[in-house]
């Protein structure tokens, strides 16, 4: 351990100090274009979600409350059953739960082929 500290860690500090001091160059043009691409992608994805059956224009897709309605409770929307709940007992809309729902759907679709 002492050897590691004396002969590797301590002498490395200079290298790390230089790395921290110099930082990393960022290309603002690429940053902007990657950012734009991402936000266009986001908007496209959002648009296609709103075109799904039973989703209303007033729904907020980042609100858990609205998602619970869309996925589970509202008549005429997806009307699935929550496979999992949060610690407080409300239906979960977390990523693992959504993946679980997808799994169930895939299994079912496969069995129908």
């Amino acid at each position: 351990m002492f050897k590691l500290i004396e002969e590797v860690v301590m002498p490395s500090l200079e290298t790390f100090a230089e790395m921290e001091y110099n930082g990393l160059d960022v290309d603002v043009a690429t940053l902007e274009s990657v950012g734009r691409e991402l936000s266009t992608k986001n908007m496209d994805e959002e648009d296609s979600l709103y075109s799904c059956e039973g989703i209303e224009k007033t729904d907020n897709l980042s609100s858990n409350h609205d998602l619970i309605e869309i996925l589970y409770t509202r008549e005429g929307s997806l009307e699935l059953y929550p496979p999992d709940r949060t610690a407080k007992g409300s239906p979960s809309v977390s990523a693992p739960t959504l993946k679980l729902l997808l799994e169930h759907i895939d299994e079912e679709l496969k069995s129908r082929e």
Partner: protein, 361 residues
């Protein structure tokens, strides 16, 4: 317990509800769920990396981000890094940058004009370390032959020559589960296979790489007796939890200990190589300099005319590890290997192959 029971019930009802729907409805639901997951992912990317970098640039007053490397950020001795700004939650952590080139996030980090960005990654580092410390002849054989370890493992595991993608993935998952301390349960969860089958696969793995399991037993016994684990570099992690009366706590401590002996060794190999690299750059009067290190990789920026020279040094220090031999007198039973990329930015690198230590530019 009740939560698990409830979860199980929820799953059953969910399956029944799904079964009662028409195919068309299910396809609609599938489209929505997939879209929602995708949206969440890209929103997170945009927020963490694009907004984060923009904020950091604004704060720094120049087109740069600064990173804070921490030697004491993890209990395994692995380096960690955080955004370096006076205000928290500003900037990005370099270590969590997504690997996928799909969204090109990495390409926002560039080399200055007329300079190149070199990214060198240790290939399958932790499994090489495992093969070395466990002294497993079979696994060492795979690395010495230079074949793809996971295909090799799958061939032995399933006892056949033609391996499907899924079988290779299973072999890969088992290998990493061993390193990170998982069991049949984790295997069946991650690969979506029945628990019984997962158990059989892991039992088979014991026959394929017996020394790996002997090593695990050895480490576990050592931790139980001494209350700590150590690595070949002399790093030590105390694991007082091993004395607990709670079985879950003890098992966690054993898992952490085993993982520590491998991950920490891998991290120290990189750290020592990095020291050698920066010393050699300076001794050779190169302006090449390391700009970051992420887990098993080193990122270097250098003037275009130094690329060849820098790559040679990187290759020698990382693959032939003279600095590790000199300081610790450690000789690995398996060859170390690297993947190198050179480009203008972190993300757009072109793969470089080496022949006898010389880069094929």
């Amino acid at each position: 317990m009740s939560k698990w029971k409830h979860r199980d019930e929820g799953k059953q009802i969910s399956k029944r509800v799904v079964a009662s729907k028409s195919t068309e409805e299910l396809l609609d639901s599938k489209k929505f769920l997939k879209g929602l997951l995708g949206l969440r992912k890209s929103e997170k990317l945009a927020k963490t990396y694009i907004q984060g970098t923009k904020k950091a640039i604004e704060y720094n007053g120049k087109n740069k981000i600064f990173v804070d490397f921490r030697f004491d950020g993890t209990s395994t001795g692995r380096l960690s890094c955080a955004a370096y700004t006076a205000k928290k939650a500003m900037g990005v952590s370099f270590h969590t940058l997504p690997r996928t080139t799909e969204d090109n996030i990495r390409s926002i980090f560039i080399a200055p004009p007329k300079q190149s960005f070199i990214a060198v990654d240790y290939a399958a580092m932790e499994l090489r370390v495992l093969a070395h410390v466990a002294k497993d002849g079979n696994m060492q054989n795979a690395f010495n032959k230079g074949v793809d370890l996971h295909t090799y493992t799958a061939k032995l595991l399933f006892n056949k020559q033609n391996i499907s993608k899924t079988e290779r993935q299973i072999a890969k998952t088992v290998s990493f589960l061993i390193v990170y301390g998982g069991g049949p349960f984790n295997l069946s969860e991650t690969m979506g296979i029945p628990l019984r089958r997962a158990e059989r696969i892991i039992d088979n793995y014991k026959n394929v790489y017996p020394a790996v399991f002997e090593y695990m037993e050895f480490v576990n016994d050592f931790i139980r007796t001494n209350g700590y684990a150590y690595t070949i570099f002399g790093r030590r992690r105390n694991l007082p939890d091993v004395g607990s009366r709670n079985k879950t706590v003890v098992n966690r401590a054993l898992r952490q200990g085993l993982n520590f002996t491998i991950q920490s060794t891998a991290s120290d190999i990189l750290l020592t190589s990095l020291l050698g690299i920066s010393r050699r750059f300076k001794a050779n009067n190169l302006s090449a300099r390391p700009v970051a290190t992420v887990h098993d990789s080193v990122e270097v920026v250098c003037p275009d005319n130094e690329v060849e020279n820098a790559l040679e040094i990187l290759y020698d220090e990382m693959v032939n590890y003279p600095t590790i031999k000199e300081i610790f007198n450690i000789h690995f039973d398996v060859p170390l290997a690297i993947d190198a990329e050179v480009g203008r930015s972190f993300g757009d690198g072109k793969e470089i192959r080496f022949e006898d230590g010389k880069p094929n530019l």
